[in-house]
Every structure is written in structure tokens, then in C-alpha cells.
Symmetry: C2
Subunit: 455 residues, 2 copies
């Protein structure tokens, strides 16, 4: 096989998946419905419809195995999809491993990550429901960039609440969103009640993802012409990302391969869901065995150190409450560079699969991820985002285990995005000044004590 | 045709061109050999071999129509090639033009531009000749990034002299090169005689491409283990880029198209050569008629306002002297953001074709290019480099002419790279503070008066 496997495995445009895969059709335990933050009772579709269009609410609770991707969405996805799959020949050689390492590369999208895979359908379903304006939050900026590109594709308006510390540290992410016509505000802002409350207590608040979500949700809830859009965590978001894994399956089949191990970095969980769920379908249906590993930062170890519980998704407690692995909605993760992985909770779908031991999780330190990313760049010629570097590190660990055991396992990981906006972090790594910031166990315990009490 | 033409036309890896096209086989007038800067007589292969390996020197003067691409080079090119071609459906709709607009996108390479197309073969031929260390210059950083990636692919060393003002303004370009293992110095530096001379006169010199070339050439000439690598201008560089046009030809043929107009931005000339030469072959052989337009900045109008003459390629007059369109080696172009187009000379091949009226040229103002780039981003979903924006602007001009005349012409342009490192410039454009810096006619005349006198 190896000899005939190209470096890059491509699909033609007509091989773009026509349906999303909904893992709720195959899971042994489906996560419970989200709760209303006001009543702490299951949220009604009416409550959710203040934020989301009905099509997405129905996708959220659907148990259909496959859901059609509308033509208009396929058309926009084709701007960058199907995405390439690479065989990491040079990395394998560098590691001296008999393992075969493959990776999907999502950095070729306009926004530079996998995020447009869900931004495009979310914009589409909102427009279809007559909504021409979306709000959202963004941390490091990947999600805000993706939604800006998607709304500009459909001629919609977009307002992004960007975590203030990122707004200041990454001015070019803001510029990127503005080029695509979005309005960007540093959060906490004066635009919302949630923002003003925080600023009154602490005018210099650096902001957090939880605060920015509160602002975006508040505005969407109050304005009839505006909905809210979330870039990860939710069931429909995870489902939209399954085109990654479906493509990967088709691409591996073209070279007669099937993965023994599938790896994705994990913050809110959507890219991990995207690469792994189509393979987990085979596992859940008893057709294949494989390991799926969600890789999270040691500084924000939601799956490996959190608890499975109902929790708020945002700081102001105005968004839906979900059953998920969480570090507590008050948990403030240390300022690691993988901003996309700094979230206290995790996707309910990924959480349920982890609780049922269908998937594994692993927590990784910051310097290890940058070391892996630099080795990857120098061998494979692609500069990875710090988030993606978590998956690279785990793939290297598994490949080195194969070197020891002599097994020629097939390893697949998701390279979620490029690192062009993260070179300050690489600078610190190369200068030896990057630290492995630890989270505080004491603060974690305090935060876990603040979980909502649900009967 | 339109209905069946996909948004993205892809080639599989085995469709990568196996040969470069050498336009010297078909030109009516081949440019004369470069001269030695010392003697101002034709440079001998021995003189050139202080800087370049013999394989590249032979390519420089070859009149063979096709030259094989070595397997090892093809293997590395496959990291990102064949590159995608897009049909700009949404841009066409925005302009309301009957024209069909296609573009090749080179921003998917590891270095983010078309530059690795020549960096990889240059690194390869040097390594084959026993050279394990290369020097080069870089302005905005695209070329230095490409050579850093290419040398890292072959396990070679790389030293980059980066124009000081860019080194300070674009620290992340430097970081990028360092991630790939290159050493980067701000030029003028203390490492070379040329650099020290400039610093003695002006310790605060912002540097220029001409000065940086002098430093890189000087070091390569003095060290036996080191050669010099140039990212544009030279014949072999233009030839390496012809894989772009060859792929484009194959991709257009797949949808039964052939361009009426081919457009590339033009600084040193290599990307314009790359996209246009394979089509110009048909024109020179009398098989097809088409227009090819080289688009340059109004601030550095080499073809449209320069003269065809022998001139030095660098400020310190230590590199080869070429017959080319030039603004004079003393000409200091204003600080436009399209740093890759700020060069006083132009490729001898492109210059000869322009003199023979086989190609056209057009000069464009900075604000017009950013306006075009923003429209392009919002419709096509890709953020262009400021250099590439010159080609976009010209394509839009031609498409709007079609709207007026009602002609459904086929327009092809080369989108050379992404603009992720250029967002400060977009910021200025969006804020309305970007100026259309003019060059000084007085300084141009002064500079032209300093051309070397050749008998």
C-alpha cells in the first residue's frame, strides 16, 4: 500500500458529502435536553427560538442518522472543501516509526480553520428563517473570523464580541473580521447589560469567553432581527463538522486504509466530533474497533479533571444549561496560547461518549505541544495553530509507541488550522520563555462547588 | 459550459507537471547573457558558479523547450501542488459581468505564496552540488519564508537578510522563518562589508531590497560552503514558476476553456511568468491569440515608466548586471504595502517580451488595489496579499469592460498569496488612511542617469 499512497489524497468537488452524520442515532446514551437558565427545566423550543432558528433547534434534538446538507450550503462549502488529506511521510521518517500517520488539513479554509464548516450552515438556516443579523463571541478569533466570512457570503450582518485580552493582543484577527464586514467589539463592552455589570465591578476586566457569550446571547435574545451563533459545544455544531470525518473515511478508503486511532484536539469538542464521529459510527454499530482520543490542554483539563454535571455555558448564566463535563462556569483557565481550547465545558455529545468509555481523553502541556508543532512544521512544511498542536503531540506519542512495539498502526489526526496568527507564541517557545502554566486546583474546587443544583 | 463548471477545479497528484516550460525556446528575441559586475563583460559560468550551482546556471541559458522536474523536487512540490483553480462565480455576480473569471490560488503553499515553486528546486540543485547552506534577502518576507521552508525540507541551513524596516514592522514573518530553522538578520547588518558600509554612513538606514541582496550575495561569494538564492527576476526562477500556468491550462481544458486574457501582478516578474508563459507558448507558436497583462504598482512602475537597459540588480553593484526594464538601481520605491512588487528592475524574459509587444503592462494605485481586494474577499471568501490585489484589480477592470461590451471573455489571473500578514495595511485602508504614494519623477530621472555605461 505505502508505495502507492500519495502524499496528498484529494477528493473532487462532487465527492463533497451530501449529508451530515448525526451520532445521536447510534449512541447508547443520548445527552438530556438543555435546561432553561431561568427555570432549570428542559428548555422549550420557544425559549430556544429567541436565539436559534427552528431548523437548527430541530437538528439539535434529531435522532435521524443522516441529515441532508442543503444545496446552498454545499455550494459555499465548495469554496474550500473537500479538504486535503496528507500522509505524513516526512514526519514518520523523522520519528523512525512503522506507524502510518495521516492528517486532514482544515487550515485551507478562508478563515484558516475548520470553523466555517458550521458557520456556513448556521448563517444559511438563519437567513432562511428571515434573520439577517447574527451575534457571536470569539476568543482567539478563529470562530469570529469564520462567522464573518460566512455572513459575508450570504450578505448578512455580523457582530462579534471579542474577549478583550485577545482584542488587544491580536489586532489582526479583528482586522480580518472587519475586512469581511463584521462589527467587532472588545468584551466586556458597554453594549450590553452583562458587559456593563462586569465593567462596573472591574473596568480593566480582560474578559473571558464566558462573558463574551453572555453579551452575544443577551443582544440576540433582546432583538427580534438578531439571532445568536455558537461555534462549538452544541449538537448541531458537532454534526456540521462531520464532513471532516466523512471525507477522511473516503480518502483513506482510496488507499485501502482504516484508522486504528483517531485524534482531535478538544476545547468545546466540535473538531474532535467532526473527525471522529463518522468512524465512531462503525464502532457503535459493531463493525470496527478503533480508539478515538480527545486531546485537551493540561491547563484546562475538562474531560480528564472535570465532572459530568449540568452547568451553565456562560458566565452571566443567561445561555442554556447543558449536561456535560465541566470545570465549572466560574473556572478561569490560565492564559495558554491555544485560546480555542480555553473553555470550561465540553460538548454534551463528546461528554456522553467519554462517560460511556467509547472515547479516551488526554491532557497535554503547552511546551510539549509547541515542541511537537515545530517538529511538524520542519518536516511537513505546514505551520500549525497551537490548538492543532495538541493533536500533533498525541499522534507523535502514539507513533512512538508503535516504534517501541513494532506495530504499523494507522493513525489519523485533524490539523484544525494554521498558525499564521500565533507567531508571537512560537517566538516565546523558540526563546525558551514559554511556561507550562498550571491551573489552580483550589480554584477548580471552588468553581465545582458553584455548579447549579438540579433536582 | 457554465452550468457544469465547478467552483474549484482540482488536479490529482499524478497530474503535477513533470517538466518546466522554458520560453527561451519560443521567444523571438532571447535576452543577452548577464554581465559580470566587475568587468561589465558577459559573466562566465565560473563567475556565476561562486553564487549558483551549475545545474541552475545551465537552466539560465538553456534553449530547450522543456526541462524535466527531478523526482525529488516533484515529491516536495506535492506538499501543496497541484494547486486549486477557482471559478469566481460570486465575484462575477457582484460585478454583473458576462465575463468568466478564473483564478489560480497559490496561497495554499506552506509559505503562503507561489515562492516555494522555485525555492524547492533551488534548494534541491544546491544540495545536489554539495552546498548545504544558502543565503538570500527578503523584503516583505514571502521569499525568505519560502526558502526557509524549502531548506528545512532538505535539511539545509538558511540565512536570510531581511530589509530592516520590514524586520521591524513584520516581526511575525521573522518568527515564521525561525520556526523553520532559518537565521534572520535585519539588513543592513554588521555581518557583511556591504552592510557595514551603509551603517557607517547611516546607522538608522531602513534598508532596501537592493542592500539586502548585496549582503546575501557578498556572503555567498566569500564562503565556499554557501550559495546565494534569488526569488525572482532570473530566467530559471521564471521557468520554475511555469508549473502554475501548465496546471492552469490543464484545469481550464477540463472545463473546455482557454483564456482570452491572462493577468499576473509583476514585481521581479516570476509569478507573471509562471501563469502566462505556458499560454504565451501557444501565442508565440501561432496557435492561439491572447492578451497577457503584467500589473505593477503605480509607485514602482518598472515596465510602464522605466527603460530597457543593462542595470545592476543590487545597490552595492556586486551581483550580475542584466538587460531589463529598470527604474535604475538607485531608485528607492515609496513604501507601499505590496512589498513584493517594490523592486527597481524586472525579469529579463518579461522585459524582452514587453519590448517585443507580446505582453502588455498596466500600473495601478494602492487604494484601488485594496478596494479590489476587499470586494474579492467579501465575495470569494479569500483574503488576498496586497501584491495579488494588483492582479485582482486588473481582472475586475477587464471584466467590467466586458459588461460594457457584452462580451463573455474568459479571464484568468494568478492569486499569488494570502494576506494574513498584511492586515495592518487592510486596517489603514478600512480607516481611510491609506495613501496613493507617488514616486518622485525627479528621483527617477536622477536614478536613470546612473545606469551603467555599457559599450
Amino acid at each position: 500500500m505505502s508505495k502507492s499512497c500519495p502524499t496528498k489524497i484529494l477528493l473532487s468537488e462532487d465527492q463533497l458529502p451530501k449529508q451530515w452524520y448525526n451520532i445521536q442515532a447510534d449512541m447508547p446514551n443520548i445527552p438530556p435536553l438543555p435546561l432553561s437558565p431561568q427555570t432549570l427545566k428542559p428548555a422549550t423550543p420557544q425559549e430556544l427560538s429567541a436565539l436559534f432558528p427552528m431548523d437548527l433547534i430541530l437538528q439539535e434534538v434529531s435522532t435521524e442518522r443522516f441529515i441532508d446538507i442543503p444545496d446552498e450550503v454545499q455550494d459555499r462549502l465548495k469554496q474550500y472543501r473537500p479538504g486535503p488529506m496528507y500522509r505524513a511521510y516526512r514526519l514518520e521518517k523523522e520519528l523512525g516509526t512503522p506507524a502510518k500517520i495521516f492528517y486532514k488539513y482544515e487550515g485551507i479554509s478562508s478563515a484558516g480553520s475548520h470553523k466555517p464548516n458550521t458557520a456556513i450552515p448556521q448563517a444559511y438556516y438563519n437567513l432562511k428563517a428571515g434573520i439577517k443579523r447574527l451575534t457571536t463571541e470569539t476568543g482567539a478569533g478563529q470562530w469570529g473570523s469564520a462567522l464573518s466570512v460566512a455572513t459575508s457570503m450570504f450578505g448578512m450582518e455580523c457582530r462579534v464580541y471579542m474577549v478583550k485580552v485577545s482584542y488587544q493582543q491580536k489586532p489582526y484577527r479583528r482586522s480580518f473580521m472587519e475586512v469581511f464586514g463584521a462589527e467587532v467589539f472588545a468584551s466586556p463592552s458597554n453594549m450590553t447589560e452583562s458587559g456593563r455589570k462586569i465593567l462596573a465591578q472591574d473596568p480593566d476586566s480582560p474578559g473571558s469567553l464566558g462573558i463574551a457569550i453572555s453579551e452575544a446571547v443577551e443582544e440576540a435574545a433582546q432583538r427580534d432581527d438578531t439571532n445568536y451563533s455558537l461555534g462549538s459545544v452544541l449538537n448541531h455544531v458537532c454534526m456540521h463538522q462531520t464532513i471532516i470525518g466523512q471525507e477522511a473515511k473516503e480518502q483513506l478508503a482510496m488507499v485501502d486504509e482504516y484508522p486504528d486511532i483517531v485524534i482531535g484536539c478538544c476545547g468545546g469538542g466540535s473538531n474532535f466530533a467532526g473527525i471522529s464521529f463518522p468512524f465512531l459510527m462503525d464502532k457503535l454499530q459493531g463493525k470496527r474497533s478503533l480508539r478515538a482520543i480527545a486531546v485537551e490542554p493540561a491547563a484546562c483539563p475538562t474531560l480528564t479533571r472535570g465532572v459530568m454535571a449540568y452547568d451553565y455555558g456562560d458566565t452571566a448564566k443567561i445561555g442554556p444549561v447543558a449536561m456535560m463535563y465541566t470545570l465549572g462556569h466560574d473556572f478561569m483557565p490560565p492564559g495558554i496560547h491555544a485560546g480555542g481550547l480555553r473553555y470550561h465545558g465540553d460538548s454534551p455529545l463528546v461528554s456522553a461518549l467519554y462517560q460511556d468509555k467509547i472515547i479516551e481523553a488526554m491532557a497535554v502541556k503547552q511546551n510539549d505541544t509547541f515542541k511537537a508543532a515545530t517538529t511538524f512544521a520542519r518536516t511537513e512544511g505546514i505551520l500549525p495553530a497551537p490548538e492543532s498542536a495538541h493533536a500533533i503531540y498525541a499522534a507523535m506519542v502514539e507513533a512512538l509507541k508503535c516504534k517501541e512495539s513494532g506495530e504499523a498502526k494507522t493513525i489519523l489526526f485533524n490539523l484544525t488550522g494554521h498558525g499564521y496568527f500565533d507567531l508571537a507564541a512560537y517566538d516565546q517557545y523558540l526563546a525558551g520563555s514559554l511556561t507550562d502554566i498550571e491551573y489552580s486546583e483550589e480554584l477548580l474546587q471552588k468553581s465545582l462547588a458553584n455548579l447549579p443544583k438540579i433536582e
